[in-house]
Subunit: 478 residues, 2 copies
Amino acid sequence: MRPLTADALNPAVLNVQYAVRGELAIRAEELRAQLKEDNHGLLFDRVISSNIGNPQQKGLDQPPITFTRQVAALMEWPALAEIAPDAFPKDVIARAKELQEEIGSIGAYSHSQGVPFIRQNVAKFIEERDGYPCDPNHIFLTGGASAGVSLLISMLISEPNNSGVLIPIPQYPLYTATLAQFSGVPLPYHLDEAADWATSVHDIEAAIEKAHREGVTAKSLVIINPGNPTGALLDENTQIELVKLCEKYSLVLLADEVYQINLHKPTTHPFTSFKKIVSQIQSPVPLVSFHSISKGVSGECGRRGGYFECTNFPVDILALIYKMVSVGLCPPLSGQIGVDSMVRPPQPGDDSYELWKKETDEIHAALAHRTGTMSQRLNALPGVSCVDSPGALYLYPQIRLSDKAIEAAREARKEPDAFYALQLLHDTGICVVPGSGFGQKEGEWHYRLTCLCPGVDEYVGQLEAFHAKFVEKYGAAN
Amino acid sequence: MRPLTADALNPAVLNVQYAVRGELAIRAEELRAQLKEDNHGLLFDRVISSNIGNPQQKGLDQPPITFTRQVAALMEWPALAEIAPDAFPKDVIARAKELQEEIGSIGAYSHSQGVPFIRQNVAKFIEERDGYPCDPNHIFLTGGASAGVSLLISMLISEPNNSGVLIPIPQYPLYTATLAQFSGVPLPYHLDEAADWATSVHDIEAAIEKAHREGVTAKSLVIINPGNPTGALLDENTQIELVKLCEKYSLVLLADEVYQINLHKPTTHPFTSFKKIVSQIQSPVPLVSFHSISKGVSGECGRRGGYFECTNFPVDILALIYKMVSVGLCPPLSGQIGVDSMVRPPQPGDDSYELWKKETDEIHAALAHRTGTMSQRLNALPGVSCVDSPGALYLYPQIRLSDKAIEAAREARKEPDAFYALQLLHDTGICVVPGSGFGQKEGEWHYRLTCLCPGVDEYVGQLEAFHAKFVEKYGAAN
């Protein structure tokens, strides 16, 4: 028989790139394994995976919200409520009982769109957030936001290599990866680093017109708000203009809003959902808003839970989405109950409220503090500039490199930012993602790092020491 | 703006069909909602979803394995081991502690291929099952078997509308749905109902040759063993011939083995994995074997857990698979720990062993008993013939219908088997899937029902009474 070779596979698969778990992350896993050896010979004793927003990973150990986990434990083994009733607060037992009555066993498949009761709770959460009605039948629970994004993009690519999707640069590489998989055309628009990564409606319109001139049909606009990797927040006026742009060009608006409560400066940089804007101006724009339990304060990445809400979608298209999700049977129940805990946290007066408040306040405060400290100190390094991010979990510093460094990267057959990041990993055990994975202007270099770390002073100290050593070796930037 | 319409979407999406959650299941959900009304006016007081192998669903309530759920509860809230130590058997506490040390928090993303420690345990399980080595790096943990099947098929379709995949008829409609989504060509081969749904190597070869004559390239052979919906088990000689056929035509063998322990007559109808056959005859055939925690005795559908093992796959293709799964980040941790419990059940001498043995013995015995009773009594009905299934969770009776019934179906614009199934649903609340969803020979009609039900006598009694009424109304078959 002929052996199986890559050229016998779907060529689109070969084009998929996903840097967040790419070369750097794979190398980091190898180093992590090497650390278990007796004489590992490495310069560090732990790997910190700052390549991915994974708050509960070993070494970071952001504690889970106790309420969420207590409810989940009772859902796993309901008999516990009788066997060890004193182990749980009263509101937890009541909540688990209510969920059990609605769901039955979490070992059963649910409705493919998600447990109806949980979708009702999501709808109430959205109504309270925005002040506009929300229909539970327009909500699809998912195994994390990524699953929903991938499904929607696959449905919108009506003609391979011709259907275009507007994506921000820098972007979260899920978008380019999914477009590559389904042979959609990425239509990049640049965010303005000099204006704190602002979104320009004018630049997006230029990208649409350019695509049309090239015979590519723009089908959809992706907005990530708060931004990833930028952390930027849109103001409402820009959001209104973006919706009107979607009206003008008949675009489906895909709003990645998974960081909606990760706000470090909520007074000056608040979050407004696109659902609210679309409702407020009574726009007919088809909108999909994605949310997740992996980020926010819950950080429950491993549960794989999230949802998307469709607005202005006709019922026949909702039925098509239902059909597509039904082939995958249902989202994980552990993720679904995680969504329920996210949208129905304990309220003042509940037994669990004080602890929940303390835990979530601490997570918000720690993230804001680390983000501020890290951006300030990175900004102070020679050749580095870093926008102080008001939201999300990341920073995206720009690094200017010397000709000598760029030459050395070329010799190592690496992009200069990957070259920098690999040396950082080997020197410190800190794994970041090179900017080439997110996109940047020609001749610019960045990296993305999460603002999650065990002790921010020691962590930034390592980044500073490494940068000094790098500059010493390769010289200062031009 | 132009409104969003279905013709602006990916046309492949429109072609996807998935009958297991199709018209009948949607109608069943509507009836279930109607039952909650005070004067519902229905002829039954509960809907039984026999359309889907979902053992723990409300109304069936197959109990979960206590060991699995106790471990999972401790993983959700590890503090329970200190707060309520007496609530758990010692081996459960030890197991959870071991998993926590390896995994950390189940709220964190794991390795995209699955937790390395759990993959090692899967490899040991496979080695003990087959007696041949297994490499943990060739195993991918998944969110249920479906996710893996969909990924592999999407990768194998190298040329839309030209790459073919051989699928059994009747088949589990995941295969046709996935092929439709990725524009692959289904190449049907018929199983022989008169020979207890046997697989004919000759018929498969004829299907390959026919495809080649039509310019379609056969890329892969799907085998479902034990069969779904047929429950048939392959003998080893047939398996060897199938592997040799794959060698001859350079096919990737996709072995859906999710029912491998659902054996009702293990002495006469044992299960042999394709991994064992391929290893035994040292075949170079690329093989993917799929397994799941949704079936078997665990029935943990809602956790979304499973794995696939790649044999004879070159490392560059394993790296491509890794890249693709990494875009989705990781399979749900609740499913991953469910896989661990499945492959490492309690052993004699462990505190949990007696209960685990009792629970699993009861599930096996009940399934065998129900399958035998149901097939025998269905077979005795006029116009119905039903192969007594030795494996899996289903029966696939053939129903012969009168001309009057077929005419009535035509008037109702339904396939005759869908017409029969809809009337069954409206009369009894029992939801089955028409054979047209799985495939059948022209002019034949079947339905699939699960062998899961609360009380088999009452349940079959309802099927019998309905059939009698149907025959009375429409006359006996020709």
